[in-house]
């Protein structure tokens, strides 16, 4: 396979895998700008190491493997405490879980869309502020004239409700936990 062909495969695979890798990175790197930096590092590392990719394995698994190492590296640089074995183990286990959850992501997204549409307007407005505008509870609280704690509690309840709703839709014969 020549370089051009190889890069074509890389482009196609990365385009497919990038959303999952981005979700994984964002799950651990909570600051958006930092998450963007880590994702760029992942992209560059994938290009650099593509020759070592074993095409018999799923690309997503390999990409998440690269991402998990860079997330740990980010932890080492950013945390004010030493990174622990638990931190590393959590990153590895959650990366595995992300990979395992891949087949159901689209179904989960559709279920989630239906569930969110059922959320009453006022609460949906709060969700929009958190998710679309990326505002913190304290800022949302100022905008809607409530306390920050009220917003934090409401967001928790909304997440709980959405989880249960999604679980009911994806597993209609099971009782959500």
């Amino acid at each position: 396979m020549d370089d051009t062909e190889s890069f074509k495969i890389l482009t196609v695979e990365w385009t497919r895998a990038q959303p999952a890798v981005a979700r994984f990175v964002r799950s651990f790197v909570r600051n958006r700008a930092d998450a963007e930096d880590v994702l760029q590092e992942v992209a560059l590392a994938i290009v650099d190491r593509f020759e070592s990719y074993d095409a018999s394995r799923p690309f997503i698994a390999w990409a998440l493997g690269v991402a998990r190492n860079l997330v740990k590296s980010h932890f080492r640089k950013q945390l004010r405490r030493p990174i622990t074995a638990d931190d590393e183990s959590a990153v590895d286990r959650v990366a595995d879980a992300f990979e395992a959850l891949q087949p159901e992501v689209e179904e989960m997204k559709e279920a989630l869309a239906e569930c969110i549409r059922r959320v009453p307007d006022e609460e949906r407005r709060m969700l929009a502020m958190q998710y679309e505008e990326d505002l913190k509870p304290a800022v949302i609280a100022r905008k809607i004239g409530k306390t920050a704690n009220h917003v934090a509690v409401m967001l928790h309840r909304l997440r709980l409700g959405l989880r249960q709703c999604v679980e009911r839709k994806m597993n209609p014969h099971q009782n959500p936990s």
């Binding site: 963007e36 183990s89 989960m108 997204k109 869309a113 969110i116 679309e132 990326d134 100022r142 509690v153």
Partner: protein, 450 residues
């Protein structure tokens, strides 16, 4: 999944967890595959929810706000992800596409309170103004800044300081007190003389020229130039090097500390007490003042709580019948007012001088507890964690034999003002009245620690 863990994950996703809480959450995720999957699912739902809003698939019901910058950081991030993809494409000889980066909403704090504060040109400082990276100078008065991460900073003018980012303030001049919850641990205040790193605490800082910065730790610990300073300790850091122990003196913070603690103003004989040596919650001895102190910043009322008073009005005695209730789920801060002139507890003398005072909170008062029985019953969850409230009689309950006379003469009056934030006391010194617990709606972040 465990309810507490789910709550913790939600706090994590809302950006409300401290580094220590994150560590605990990660350790939990690392325990089992099941835990890791639960954490991954929660994160995945969180990300997918964001994508759905971003894609406009879950209709947003809010009308656009005039002048608001609704550009999300998520846009920024997704653009960043696109850049990452573009980078790869560029490496294989394809075109990079470009597009201007949207601006971020850069505010990270709000001027929550302005008490007589004015700018150097005399302009009054308005409250409820959002602030970001900027220099603020006040010629006088007090302002309280509440940061999005839960920390608050109250500054007394004249003062000048620079907000460098959400976790970093450069303090040029003035007197300030800080309350920093776990969620903002690591909050740093720099001056020309020292770097003060908060380790989850409350402290006062004074910078008034002279090449030194005074730091006084009320609660918890701070690090001054690498040296750990604990509650009840004070130091002076000098520009020419060295951190020296100094006298723990809270008087200078008597105006700013109450505002940090949610009290806007006290008048008359009311005195807000700064914590420190000599401060014994519950039995603070001061026969010159009605002392007030913050017991807990944030308490979640688990079951509906009966109080003695909740409605505005003028009260001459606390009736023993059923009182109003604070609904379950409410979040309150609790304060204790002590009116016990030491040694006069058992006296009831109509000729004693008056004890008058007024206190105004920055949030509405939702209930007053003034009966001994209810005080005792609520000490455990509303009282100061280090409080020793003793066995002596407490509460707003004059002895029965004097009750009629007191009522007839209108000796003791407690007024909860119509603004629901101001409490006015006018009592005869020597009344058997001892303590009143004031419950105020909590505006603190859920990450605040009690």
């Amino acid at each position: 999944m465990n309810v507490e863990i789910e709550k913790q994950i939600s706090a994590y996703l809302s950006g409300l967890c401290s580094e220590e809480e994150v560590r605990i959450l990660l350790a939990w995720s690392a325990e089992t595959e099941e835990n890791a999957t639960a954490f991954a699912r929660a994160c995945l739902r969180h990300e997918l929810t964001g994508e759905l809003f971003e894609e406009g698939r879950v209709a947003e019901v809010r009308p656009p706000e005039a002048g608001s910058n609704s550009t999300s950081q998520r846009h920024f991030f997704q653009w960043g992800a696109a850049i990452a993809a573009a980078l790869i494409l560029s490496l294989i000889g394809l075109a990079i596409w470009t597009q201007p980066q949207p601006e971020n909403d850069s505010s990270f704090a709000v001027i929550a309170q302005s008490v007589g504060a004015r700018l150097p040109d005399g302009t009054v400082v308005a409250s409820n103004r959002e602030v970001g990276v900027e220099t603020i100078e006040i010629a006088g008065g007090l302002i309280r800044l509440d940061f999005d991460h839960g920390a608050s900073m109250t500054v007394e003018g004249p003062a000048r300081f620079e907000l460098r980012d959400a976790m970093h303030v450069y303090f040029e001049e003035g007197v300030a007190t800080f309350h920093v919850p776990e969620s903002a641990k690591g909050f740093t205040v720099d001056t020309a003389d020292a770097e003060v790193i908060d380790l989850g605490t409350a402290f006062g800082l004074t910078k008034r020229g002279g090449g030194k910065t005074d730091v006084c730790v009320f609660e918890g610990e701070v690090e001054v130039e690498g040296e750990r300073i604990r509650a009840g300790e004070a130091v002076s850091a000098r520009k020419d090097g060295g951190v020296q122990e100094s006298f723990f003196e809270t008087e200078i913070y008597e105006k700013v500390w109450p505002v940090t603690s949610g009290v806007l103003q006290t008048t008359g004989m009311m005195r807000f007490v700064s914590p420190g040596p000599g401060f014994f919650p519950g039995r603070f001895e001061d026969n010159q003042h009605i002392t007030v102190f913050l017991e807990r910043r944030q308490v979640s009322i688990e079951n509906a709580l009966e109080v003695d008073l909740a409605d505005p009005g003028e009260y001459r005695r606390i009736r023993r019948e059923k009182g109003p209730r604070i609904p379950a789920g409410s979040e309150v801060a609790s304060y204790l007012l002590q009116l016990d002139p030491v040694g006069l507890l058992d006296k009831w003398d109509g000729d004693k001088p008056r004890v008058e005072g007024q206190i105004t909170f920055d949030q509405p008062i939702v209930g007053l507890i003034a009966s001994g029985r209810k005080l005792l019953a609520t000490d455990i969850f509303l009282g100061h964690p280090d409080g020793n409230y003793g066995e002596l009689p407490r509460g707003l309950e004059p002895p029965k034999e004097n009750l009629q006379q007191a009522e007839a003469e209108g000796k003791d009056v407690l007024i909860l003002a119509a603004d629901q934030r101001t409490l006015i006391l006018n009592f005869a010194a020597g009344s058997a009245l001892d303590q009143i617990r004031v419950l105020v709606a909590s505006d603190a972040l859920s990450t605040s620690r009690n």
